[in-house]
């Protein structure tokens, strides 16, 4: 139960309860405005009935030819609104727009290899690991330098334009590339 609405520039004044959480990065103005000035339909907010922001997703469309796809740049839910399937709803909107408006072949996202909660959630939504990207993330700087923390899984889910599921593979976890090889 939440209002699903577009992400607006002025939401930057309202997103503190979400962005003060350690897992959510606050970027400069130009980051948000870049996305909103190009892919506003891939950015949305879930809002509580009392007007508080609960979470948001920021995405884009990119790639060439068969690689044309929707990409989830940031997906976040404030701690007090977790376990309400909000992420699922925002992902389904992003998939729908990537499919119908942008006619992408798939949707992809990056996630820390250590973030098992998120990984199993995405698997539940139909995503699978396409490849492992070495040293994609910076260390969290919390004194635990582990490879898994810095490596990312590139996870993908095919859309209706890819009925033969060419954009995914079964053994993606073993397929390792370096961060330089991905855009």
């Amino acid at each position: 139960m939440s209002v699903l609405r577009p992400f607006r520039a002025t939401d930057m004044f309202k997103f503190n309860n979400i962005n003060l959480d350690i897992w959510t990065e606050t970027y400069g103005i130009s980051f948000y405005l870049t996305y909103l000035s190009r892919w506003p339909d891939l950015c949305c907010v879930q809002e509580a009935p009392n007007g508080h922001m609960m979470g948001y997703v920021i995405g884009k469309a990119e790639g060439h030819g068969q690689d044309w796809h929707g990409h989830v740049t940031a997906l976040t839910v404030a701690p007090e609104y977790r376990r309400l399937s909000l992420a699922r709803k925002m992902m389904s909107l992003l998939e729908m727009v990537s499919d119908e408006t942008y006619k992408g072949f798939f949707v992809d996202l990056y996630v820390r290899c250590t973030n098992s909660v998120a990984i199993s959630m995405y698997e539940g939504l139909g995503y699978s690991v396409y490849r492992r990207v070495r040293e994609y993330y910076g260390s969290l700087g919390l004194g635990r330098a582990s490879k898994d923390e810095e490596d990312a899984f590139d996870m993908r889910k095919p859309l209706s334009r890819d009925p033969h599921r060419r954009s995914v593979r079964a053994n993606g976890r073993e397929f390792v590339v370096s961060a330089h090889d991905v855009s």
Partner: protein
């Protein structure tokens, strides 16, 4: 550009790209011998902060009416650096006029207008481009510029519909219909909505393509909902919502709201009392809607809260419309809701709107909740947290006695400590599941402090919350409470530590810096050279610079990508940040600290005068986020935020009062008058505001007191405000008499400028003319007769002294004491500022101001002695607080938390040491600062 030239220019670009501005200038000079390229040199100079030199070069380049792409781009950066945005527009317009066939120049001219919000001109350029290049995109640029012009505050009311109608006519002239893409469709809908042509809008929306667009575009769907509501098509919306809820399983809360609105439409849409027939019909609708929501609730089970919550909302509205409903219905639904979703953290805020129970209902609800306390698993822990919060919410004033609150605080501590076991194995990046119990402890102790006035409760709160913060390092909510409590306890350094650990950055500095920078001057040790708070102000203000350089660019970009739906929001965002209340509150704080930190010379006075005058006309937006501070206080009490503010938060009235105080003082102390200021100004002036109030002459506005200002000030600040008015009224005439005439000043400026070889001041020619008429005639008048100082001035210092004494002997908090001290110090500094001009003996002799100088001296001596006394008392207090005895008192004060076991004595002692040390540091620092201020200005 020839290849040879390109080769020569490349190193300049490289040097600019790598910020090696000095080598860029050298490289330019080399090339310049053969081929002039002053634009790049001007750019390098701007970046080197050599404004005057750059200005000159820039004017030279502009005079040649450049059309070359490279030159135009470089000049755009130069002029932006100089703040001359209107010159950018003129430059591109001139270039485009010379090459009307050049599409790129047209686009650049359009963007230049867009960046400064020049919608009328932008519309004209776009229209011209559309005629010339026949591209629908330019048509929409022109259409949307007209819409934005209609939206602009500066556009006369009568012109607005004309512009919108023009825009509408233009839409129908396009080669493709508006539903060619969602953003053009959005523009079309927006215009129809503004013109209140709802039926036309509905026709578009009901069209197959219109429907399709709204399905995938949230922006269009949002405006669709709005239009349907305005059109009064609520019932139709309700029917659609019903289908979406039941068949498509849509769980967007907006659909539920649509159905709710439709259900009560026949009663809610008219102000007439409803007839029995209408009531009966609505009751029938309610029953139908109840069925829909119940069905959704059954289908979803634990998966989604919408159905059950919508049922609650339905009952609430039924009751508020005076229709029959069973008295216990809402309570039973709330219980049902709690049973299903009580283990979700948001259950508390979900239920709040429905819990205004009283009497028997409240008793039953309370006993229901009491039976749901359980701490076996993490899920039941979350449920219990909700139980405690919900119980607290409905406490009545009778239940809020010190004894009962203390018992509650101890119970919260107990369950908090128990609950920690569920988080033992969590990594330190995770929040502790029991955190909210610690937050409740904080609330209970703050409430106890409010009830009893005893500071010890705040100390207990600090100790518990520090304990919780150490266990849940990422909990910003715990830190928020600590920030507030440490300020109350006179330990601002600790508040600042917690604020920094929250890692507030970028746009968050606008919404959150109030946490540490509200009236920061009162904590600042600036007189001692400690610029901590001044730097915080500067850092937090970075975002406004990014806003001015970046946001306008994205408005242009949204035109170029045809994302019209974003443009109004971008403009609003830019405006809210540019005219942010917090921005200028920080500016005033910075000025207050700067005055205490630096010598009061012309450089400070003139610069701040100009900057504050720029701010004065702004219409401010308050973006400060207070909502983020947790609040679990009972509904009969003020919120935690309100309870823990040391003073009323400064608002627009406060800002206006303080701007007036400082502008008046600087104006008097300064030699700059308006004519001089205009000549020395480099960048564009801010756009004048349209507020009729602002049309009055500045001098009149500065002495006008407004109720809004008075309401915003603390009692001490009110006295201070009166004091400053009396002071400037008294001293003003002497300043006016002694101030050198503008011509002398400009000549001075020219002279100092001539010292830099070969670069005369841009506007000197005009200035020299001015001097002929604005001569020395003034000095022929007699100097104004010297008057005694108004009684209010010495009285102010006496009043503050007695306030200080009263607070010292009472039980007031350190924050109140420091506020009094800071206000007195500020009054002293303003006195120094207002009298510095009359210090030199030559002035006193020349103008026969001997008697005036004596009055100043008497006042200064009086004020100094009061400040010195305050300083001595504060220093003594500082010493007392950080002794072992002081810490022991703190630990004893926190005995209630130790009784509840689990808290070890050493931990509490540690917090005590930190707090008392921080307070000592503040007291001693402020005491020394007072002495220094007195010494500097005696």
């Amino acid at each position: 550009m020839s290849t040879a030239l390109d080769r020569q220019i490349r190193p300049i670009y490289d040097a600019l790209d790598t910020q090696s501005n000095k080598s860029a200038v050298l490289a330019c000079n080399k090339v310049l011998k053969k081929q002039p390229n002053n634009a790049l040199k001007a750019l390098a100079l701007v970046r080197l902060q050599k404004v005057e030199e750059s200005l000159l070069l820039a004017d030279e380049v502009l005079a040649k009416k450049p059309t070359d792409d490279g030159v135009l781009t470089a000049m755009m950066h130069v002029l932006r650096g100089l703040g001359r945005h209107s010159d950018i527009v003129a430059m591109f317009e001139t270039a485009y006029k010379q090459h009307p066939q050049n599409e790129d120049l047209g686009t650049q001219t359009f963007f230049a207008n867009v960046r400064v919000g020049n919608w009328k001109a932008a519309q004209q350029v776009a229209t011209k481009m559309h005629k010339q290049f026949q591209d629908d995109r330019y048509l929409y640029w022109s259409i949307f510029s007209a819409v934005l012009q209609a939206n602009d505050m500066a556009t006369p009311e009568a012109l607005r519909p004309v512009l919108l109608k023009l825009a509408l006519r233009l839409i129908s002239s396009g080669n493709t219909p508006s539903y060619f893409n969602p953003d053009r469709f959005y523009v079309h809908l927006l215009i129809l909505r503004e013109l209140e042509m709802y039926d036309d809008a509905a026709t578009l929306l009901n069209h197959e393509i219109g429907q399709k667009i709204c399905e995938t575009s949230l922006v269009c769907d949002e405006i669709r909902r709005d239009i349907m509501k305005l059109k009064g098509a609520c019932k139709q919306e309700g029917e659609q919502a019903k289908v979406k809820i039941l068949e498509k399983k849509d769980r967007n809360w907006l659909e539920f709201l649509s159905l709710l609105d439709a259900t009560f439409w026949d009663i809610a849409s008219t102000s007439e009392p409803a007839s029995e027939d209408v009531k009966a019909a609505v009751t029938e609708e309610i029953a139908k809607t109840r069925k829909v929501f119940s069905e959704a609730a059954t289908v979803d089970g634990l998966k989604d809260r919408s159905g059950l919550l919508a049922l609650l909302e339905l009952e609430k509205r039924t009751k508020s419309h005076g229709l029959w409903t069973d008295a216990c219905e809402i309570r039973m639904m709330a219980e049902n809701y709690f049973s299903q979703f009580g283990d979700k953290a948001c259950c508390y805020e979900d239920l709040l709107p429905y819990l205004a129970f009283e009497g028997e209902e409240l008793e039953q609800w309370t006993s229901f909740l009491n039976s749901r306390k359980s701490f076996d698993t993490p899920d039941t822990l979350q449920r219990s947290i909700n139980v405690y919060k919900l119980l607290r919410y409905n406490l009545t004033s009778a239940e809020l006695t010190p004894e009962l609150e203390l018992a509650r605080a101890q119970e919260y501590i107990k369950v908090y400590l128990d609950g920690l076991k569920f988080g033992v194995n969590l990594p330190d990046t995770e929040l502790q599941p029991a955190d909210d119990f610690a937050i409740l402890v904080g609330h209970a102790y703050v409430s106890l402090w409010k009830l009893t006035g005893e500071e010890s409760h705040l100390q207990s709160a600090a100790a518990t919350l520090e304990y919780a913060s150490a266990r849940s390092k990422q909990s910003y909510r715990i830190r928020l409470l600590l920030i507030r409590i440490y300020h109350l306890l006179g330990a601002p350094a600790l508040a600042l530590d917690h604020y920094r650990l929250m890692n507030v950055k970028q746009v968050q500095t606008d919404t959150l810096s109030h946490l540490i920078l509200s009236r920061a001057a009162m904590w600042s040790l600036a007189p001692l050279g400690d610029i901590t708070y001044m730097s915080e102000c500067m850092e937090a203000s970075q975002i406004y610079m990014s806003n001015s350089t970046e946001t306008a660019e994205f408005i242009a970009r949204a035109f170029s990508t045809e994302r019209y739906s974003q443009i109004i929001d971008f403009i609003e965002f830019e405006d809210r940040l540019d005219n942010s209340l917090q921005r200028d509150l920080m500016k005033v704080e910075h000025v207050r600290m700067r005055v205490a930190h630096e010598p009061l010379n012309a450089e400070l006075v003139d610069m701040e005068l100009i900057e504050l005058k720029f701010i004065f006309d702004r219409i401010h937006h308050d973006n400060r986020d207070f909502e983020v501070i947790p609040n679990y206080q009972p509904r009969c009490q003020p919120s935690f935020n309100e309870q823990t503010l040391p003073l009323k938060p400064p608002g627009a009235g406060w800002l206006s009062a303080y701007l007036k105080v400082y502008i008046r003082a600087f104006q008097e102390a300064s030699d700059l008058d308006e004519t001089v200021e205009d000549k020395l100004l480099i960048g564009d002036r801010p756009k004048p505001s349209n507020d009729p109030e602002n049309q009055l002459p500045l001098r009149e506005r500065l002495v006008k007191k407004r109720q809004e200002e008075i309401d915003d000030l603390s009692e001490d600040e009110k006295l201070f405000y009166e004091y400053t008015l009396a002071l400037s009224e008294w001293v003003g005439p002497y300043h006016d008499y002694v101030r050198p005439p503008p011509s002398a000043l400009l000549a001075e400026a020219a002279k100092s400028n001539d010292l830099k070889p070969g670069h005369p001041l841009k506007s000197m020619a005009a200035a020299a003319n001015g001097s002929a008429t604005n001569g020395h005639s003034k000095k022929d008048e007699e100097p104004p007769a010297v008057k005694e100082s108004p009684e209010l001035i010495p009285k102010f210092f006496d009043d503050m002294k007695s306030r200080f004494d009263a607070v010292i002997s009472g039980t007031a908090l350190p924050s109140e004491l420091l506020h009094i001290v800071a206000t007195t110090q500020e009054a002293y500094l303003l006195f120094a500022l207002e009298t510095v001009r009359f210090k030199p003996n030559s002035i006193i002799k020349q103008y026969k101001f001997g008697q005036l100088a004596q009055s100043f001296k008497d006042l200064r001596v009086k004020a100094s002695s009061i400040l010195n006394e305050m300083s001595t008392v504060l220093a003594k207090l500082g010493e007392e607080v950080a002794t072992p005895d002081g810490r022991k008192a703190f630990v004893q004060a926190s005995s209630s938390i130790q009784d509840s076991s689990g808290f070890d004595h050493d931990f509490v002692l540690g917090v005590a040491k930190k707090t008392t040390d921080a307070r000592k540091q503040t007291y001693e620092g402020i005491a020394k600062g007072l002495a220094k201020v007195v010494k500097n200005h005696s």
